[in-house]
């Protein structure tokens, strides 16, 4: 896509390709580099009909890169916040109304995740039959979640998210 890799100062990056303001919608910022597409997939933003801008490898500070997503006329549900937290634990979500930030929220991994991600144990009943998945947070950094049913501890990178592109 595009990026400010090594050439632009932070302010310029912001004013560069990502500048076009949106009237109503959502800006997901501070996504780890390379993870924006995955988040867009999980949120189903790659479907026809959405006006989306995905920025990859933008400069966040002098030394830190980030991805960013802007989407028009779309707001997130609580469950979507939880899903984003699993991929981008430090992301911030800005709700834009009338060109202004209406609300700014930092995502957090909740204590309990219901029906958001699959237990990484292939022999778990929740992966074998139609059983609602339920995971408890053991640690946020690094992310470790334990299954309500089988007690298996899944590491963040092993978790598969429910929903489009997640399976």
């Amino acid at each position: 896509m595009m990026g400010g890799m090594g050439m632009k100062k932070p302010a310029e990056a912001k004013k560069g390709l990502m500048v076009s303001p949106i009237e109503n919608g959502t800006v997901i910022d501070h996504i780890p580099p390379g993870k924006a597409i995955k988040i867009a997939e999980i949120l189903n933003l790659l479907q026809p009909g959405y006006v989306v801008i995905i920025g990859q490898n933008l400069r966040s500070t002098k030394y830190v890169l980030k991805d960013l997503i802007k989407v028009e006329n779309r707001y997130l549900t609580g469950e979507e916040y939880n899903k984003i937290a699993l991929i981008a634990p430090n992301a911030t979500v800005n709700m834009i109304r009338n060109f202004e930030i209406n609300e700014k929220r930092k995502v957090t991994v909740p204590d309990v995740l219901e029906e958001v991600a699959f237990c990484a144990n292939a022999n778990c009943i929740s992966n074998k039959e139609h059983v609602p998945s339920r995971l408890y947070t053991v640690s946020r950094d690094p992310l470790v979640m334990v299954c309500h049913y089988c007690n298996f501890e899944s590491k963040g990178e092993e978790l598969k998210l429910k929903g489009a592109g997640g399976r």
Binding site: N123, I125, E129, Y149, N151
Partner: protein
């Protein structure tokens, strides 16, 4: 302490006082004898998706000696499961017929799910049917752990202060993981005797370390034979080794026979979850220290006690 309608899914759901209470009641049952009026008119469903004959017979005996009826299947051949019935549907159906469901199932976490299903039923105003986990895949087998611990207490007169050696496949064996957790509720020291590749997993060690349990790894039974109060043997499976040679070497080392056993304290008791293959030589069976068959027998008072407690027939 509340046992009525309680699910028995994981050993981790129990506290030390609760385990001690269960053992006290089991001892009482053993001493006073079983009464068939205890569970008269009650019915226990034994849903065994895997045949597991020993566990099923033990539960069946436990229920019947207290006067309960049992209905059961063992293996799914010819059942509605073969037609694709889900665990939830089977539980919802059988819960209409019985007061308790004992289940053994190949999937990890199946017992917790079944317990959730009958709890939800109870919230809708139907009677709660407690679930007893008779083994859910590689996950847990709490009544095995309870009878193991009961056997330790019964033979040693208590659990605090004991040195317990766990021998064999400590990496994949869920029995030794659960027993380690249970022993950590007491003031014990644990010896892990296993080939390097099959040593106890780090997560078990770190959990026990937090509880202040002294743990030592060994590579030979000889290192613990003279000091251990209990030696808990498990089978090492051939499939765990890349080649036959490697397996044969290990097989000879993690094996107890009569002459090795004679070096142990007279009060030491040798235990095994059974079935044993050749990790305990048959010539060891007659030694007073060999306890594995009586250990299996302890499953009956422990399971009978649990059934009576959760059905409210014993306070």
């Amino acid at each position: 302490m509340e046992f009525v309608n309680r699910d028995i899914v994981s050993i981790k759901d129990f506290t030390r006082p609760e385990l001690e209470y269960i053992f006290e009641k089991a001892k009482e049952i053993e001493e006073k004898g079983y009464s068939r009026s205890t569970l008269k008119g009650k019915r226990v469903g034994l849903l065994f998706y895997e045949p597991s004959t020993r566990t099923r017979m033990s539960f069946d005996t436990a229920a019947q000696t207290l006067g309960a009826d049992t209905i059961w299947f063992a293996g799914v051949e010819g059942t509605s499961v073969m037609k694709g019935e889900t665990l939830k549907d089977t539980i919802e159906t059988v819960a209409n017929y019985v007061d308790v469901i004992v289940m053994r199932h190949p999937f990890d976490g199946s017992a917790r799910w079944a317990a959730d299903v009958t709890t939800k039923r109870a919230k809708q105003g139907l009677k709660k049917v407690p679930i007893v986990n008779g083994g859910d895949g590689k996950n847990e087998h709490p009544t095995q752990t309870m009878l193991d611990l009961y056997s330790v207490q019964k033979t040693q007169g208590g659990i605090d202060g004991l040195e317990v050696a766990l021998v064999g496949d400590l990496k994949y064996g869920r029995t030794t993981h659960s027993l380690s957790y249970a022993l950590s509720m007491f003031d014990t020291r644990i010896d892990y005797v296993a080939p390097e590749a099959l040593q106890i997993p780090a997560h078990v060690v770190s959990f026990l370390k937090q509880k202040g349990i002294a743990q030592t790894k060994y590579s030979r039974i000889e290192d613990v034979i003279e000091t251990a109060d209990v030696i808990y043997m498990t089978r090492i499976q051939k499939e765990r080794f890349p080649d036959e040679n490697e397996y044969n070497k290990v097989k000879g080392v993690f094996r107890i026979d009569k002459s090795l056993l004679s070096r142990a304290k007279p009060t030491m008791r040798l235990m095994h979850p059974l079935p044993r293959v050749d990790e305990i030589a048959v010539d060891a069976d007659d030694d007073q220290r060999s306890y594995y068959f009586q250990q299996a027998g302890n499953g009956v008072p422990v399971r009978a006690t649990l059934l009576a407690l959760i059905m409210g027939a014993v306070e």
